[in-house]
């Protein structure tokens, strides 16, 4: 059914149509004054285009410009957002140009990439943007044709009056339409009438990517800009002394600045900076705790037994349940620090001009970068502009503005435009990691194998809350105690794709497998029984949709032929995160007595699938990411510095290690939810559970390939 939705005036302030480019200056890539950046022929289109709302402009020739406000880092939002606008507009997709919008908090809300939240937040707004413009175009056409607007239909940018056989293109009525008041109500399409949503639409930046056009922040160039690299201190250390004489002696080095425990080298090109940085002689001294990985192991042990844990959820009487249990299962799981390591290292351009600042580069949170810059300089944030380039990955690292502020600081001190570039070593050692965490799980079973008590304590290194107390199996168990202990480490941490759940899901789903085994139940049946209990007699609050979780579990079981082939050793895992539900089965076959990962099957419920290829990319990519880091990822510390500094010692998954991945979606009809993160959390658990099914041994720490007790098994999993 089509549904009527009230328009929100703030969303759709219809800007008076001036039919000039004046309105759009803020939207340009910096084409005008930066010869290296792409000069889009779209400029000509823009100079003729009429602005309908924050998302949409149309020219008299029928070209359509759709602005995508959220930073694009590979989650494909720059393609999927415009698809939604174009759908409700009934646009001809081949006439659509997509432009990355600059930061504009007047026009857009939640202009950030994080939490897989963009699509659920903007779904209705985007539909309104397209539907409102379509209604205005129809109204203008009705006046022109002197017919009732209800007799008009639209298709691919053409308005038809079927009765008389007359038609008008959107372009022909765009100037008239732009003079009209935006309607109070719009009618959304019935999803069954979608023509663009649900079809595979290719990445709008594909050609520029394949031909090497300057899309990324690191590609940005401005005549007269300086380049800078920064030497940062080890964690817990401060500068004792700096000898920069031999660094300064490198030709092309313009200055060396010491500020806030950092040493910045400034010059005109990258290689001299890299050379000079190696010749810097900076000595450091402790300023608080200087940590090494063995300290973390000790701290984990202490805090798992600490009396100071914070109870995050308590249902029933856990002590009584464990006292009355006929069987108790207890296990600990540990996950290391990880680097985000997007392929494009951190970088940003800043030009501080008296009380104005221009910021250009890859950021997941342009508004946060702006606010932090305003605070640093003590100027109003309105004086700061932010252009968002394409991001060469982010994974949460670019939610921080530390590297933006470096560019601001150095630009201010040099009184010149400056681009800060991090080397890979800087990127890996400069901080903000996925935190290391250790969990202790306990389950109490009654004689019939029912889980009557469940305890979880998480200890995290700057992890904040390392548990998700209201996630499954909470709601399905009578007696629950979930606790958190946070250790204030000197090592900086940050959200990392699917924060917390990227390791909690592995630990929890592995533990539930252990409990199912002790209860002598099939792992899937065990979970379904718990969910049935949560449905019929929920304990406390239940924050997940039980039926949707059951839906993906049953679908994954069916699609994977769960338990049907004794030669295939299977591991199951299911997780709800970021509003989406994903169940996975890993299939392992033994070859020459060694486990070979043949396939991972995933069933996902993310509501309406906006772009099937985009969704596949996210699910497959999430699984490869989850697998790679569970298998190989490990960042260890020695005296406040990571021991792994580049990809020779910090191992990322490569092509030959990727198994076949099969993806399925449930047609649940819900509004779409995000997919940038939800497919990652279940993967580590599915693989570990399959390894157990194949070998009878449980992987209780990551990375899997570094577990000493598995040294007799070749976990260098071969693709089938």
């Amino acid at each position: 059914m089509a549904n009527i939705t009230k328009t929100n005036r703030r969303d759709f302030l219809k800007i008076a149509a001036t039919a000039t480019g004046g309105l759009f200056i803020g939207f340009y890539w910096s084409g005008c004054d930066s010869p290296k950046m792409q000069v889009l022929s779209t400029e000509e289109i823009l100079s003729k285009a009429t602005d309908f709302n924050s998302f949409l402009s149309i020219t008299p020739d029928g070209d359509i410009v759709i602005y995508s406000p959220n930073p694009e880092l590979g989650q494909n939002i720059k393609t999927s957002f415009p698809m939604v606008v174009a759908e409700e507009l009934d646009a001809d997709w081949s006439r659509v140009r997509v432009l990355q919008a600059n930061l504009d908090t007047e026009k857009y809300e939640r202009q950030l990439t994080g939490g897989s939240g963009a699509m659920p937040h903007s779904w209705e707004r985007l539909r309104k943007a397209g539907a409102t413009a379509r209604l205005l175009l129809i109204s203008a056409a009705a006046t022109r044709l002197e017919v009732d607007k209800n007799t008009l239909t639209t298709e691919k940018g053409i308005i038809y009056h079927k009765e008389s056989g007359r038609k008008l293109s959107y372009g022909e009525v765009v100037l008239d339409a732009a003079q009209l008041e935006a309607p109070d109500e719009v009618i959304f399409k019935d999803p069954k009438d979608f023509k663009i949503i649900g079809t595979p639409v290719k990445n709008v930046d594909n050609k520029d990517i394949f031909t090497g056009k300057p899309l990324f922040g690191l590609d940005f160039y401005r005549e007269g800009m300086l380049l800078a690299m920064v030497q940062r201190p080890p964690f817990g250390m401060k500068i004792k002394s700096v000898d920069d004489a031999s660094a300064r002696a490198i030709p092309g080095i313009q200055d060396v600045i010491v500020y806030d425990n950092n040493v910045a080298i400034v010059g005109n090109s990258t290689w001299p900076l890299m050379k000079a940085k190696r010749r810097l002689n900076v000595s450091y001294e402790p300023e608080g705790e200087v940590e090494s990985s063995f300290d973390h192991d000790r701290i984990f042990k202490e805090l798992l037994d600490s009396k100071d844990a914070r109870a995050m959820r308590e249902d029933g009487d856990v002590d009584a349940a464990f006292k009355n249990a006929s069987k108790i299962v207890t296990s600990e799981y540990q996950c290391p620090f990880l680097s985000h390591s997007p392929m494009e290292p951190m970088n940003f351009f800043a030009h501080v001009k008296e009380d104005q600042v221009e910021l250009i580069g890859p950021t997941q949170t342009p508004d946060s970068a702006r606010v932090q810059t305003a605070n640093l300089l003590g100027i109003p944030k309105e004086n700061i502009s932010v252009e968002i380039t394409r991001l060469g990955g982010g994974f949460g690292r670019r939610l921080r503005a530390d590297y933006v502020l470096e560019a601001v600081e150095i630009s201010k001190r040099m009184n010149a435009p400056v681009k800060v570039t991090w080397s890979r070593e800087d990127d890996m050692t400069g901080g903000a990691y996925r935190p290391a965490v250790r969990y202790r799980f306990s389950a109490a079973l009654d004689e019939a194998g029912n889980m009557i008590g469940y305890k979880l304590r998480g200890v995290g290194m700057n992890a904040g809350n390392s548990v998700r107390q209201d996630n499954f199996p909470s709601g399905a168990v009578e007696n629950v105690l979930i606790e958190n202990v946070n250790y204030a480490s000197s090592i900086t941490t940050n959200a990392w794709r699917a924060p917390i759940t990227n390791f909690l899901a592995y630990a929890e789903q592995s533990f539930l497998d252990e409990v199912a085994l002790e209860a002598q139940k099939d792992p899937i049946q065990f979970r379904l029984e718990l969910l049935e209990k949560a449905k019929t007699s929920p304990i406390g609050s239940v924050n997940y949709d039980i039926d949707r979780m059951i839906g993906v579990i049953k679908d994954a079981a069916e699609k994977s032929n769960w338990g049907k082939d004794s030669n295939v050793k299977q591991g199951f895992s299911v997780y709800f995160s970021h509003r989406s539900y994903v169940a996975q089965v890993a299939n392992i076959e033994m070859e020459n007595n060694q486990p070979v990962l043949k396939k991972i099957i995933a069933s996902t419920d993310c509501g309406i699938v906006v772009n099937p290829t985009g969704a596949n990319h996210q699910v497959r990519g999430g699984i490869v990411d989850g697998m790679g880091h569970a298998m190989y990822g490990n960042l260890t510390f020695e005296n406040g510095l990571p021991k792994q500094k580049n990809f020779d010692s910090y191992r990322l998954i490569r092509m030959k290690e990727v198994p076949e991945v099969e993806v399925h979606y449930l047609d649940s009809g819900f509004d779409p939810t995000g997919l940038g993160e939800p497919a990652l959390p279940p993967t580590g658990g599915a693989i570990a559970n399959a390894i157990f099914a194949a070998t009878g041994r449980r992987l209780r720490s990551q990375p899997f390939v570094e577990q000493k007790e598995f040294s007799d098994i070749n976990l260098e999993i071969k693709r089938g």
Binding site: L215, T270, M343, H617, G622, V624, F647, R654, M655, V661
Partner: protein
Amino acid sequence: MAKIEFTINGKEQTVDIDPSTPVLWVLRDHLDLVGTKYGCGIAQCGACTIHLDGEAVRSCVLPISSVQGQKITTIEGLSQDGDHPLQKAWMEHDVPQCGYCQTGQIMSAAALLKNVPNPSDAEIDTAMNGNICRCGTYTRIKTAIKIASKSL
């Protein structure tokens, strides 16, 4: 500083530069060719892959002094209009996510197909082992290489 002459994307080029400068930074900082990407600086990720006399090399560890008189091809020179069979296959199969590593992936794949027009899975794995994709697009890269190999 030293004067170094070479051919880049079919054109004669002379640079006067610190001879230890890696080709990567000459391309990016001095010749406005930014399609060749910086990823690691130690030949571990493949983002900087170019062709030197037709062979795939990592330009981040290749001093400019070593290319005197040789022929370099970068992604900008791989085809006239982005229509190399691999670029077309990359489009057809919608390979990229963030896209940052893809020019290096294409350059590695182009060198492979030049030497082995119909590579097996194992040959693709070996040739592409030096190229990291942090987004995990590997399966589509492999499929696109196979599509392109059929059209050669």
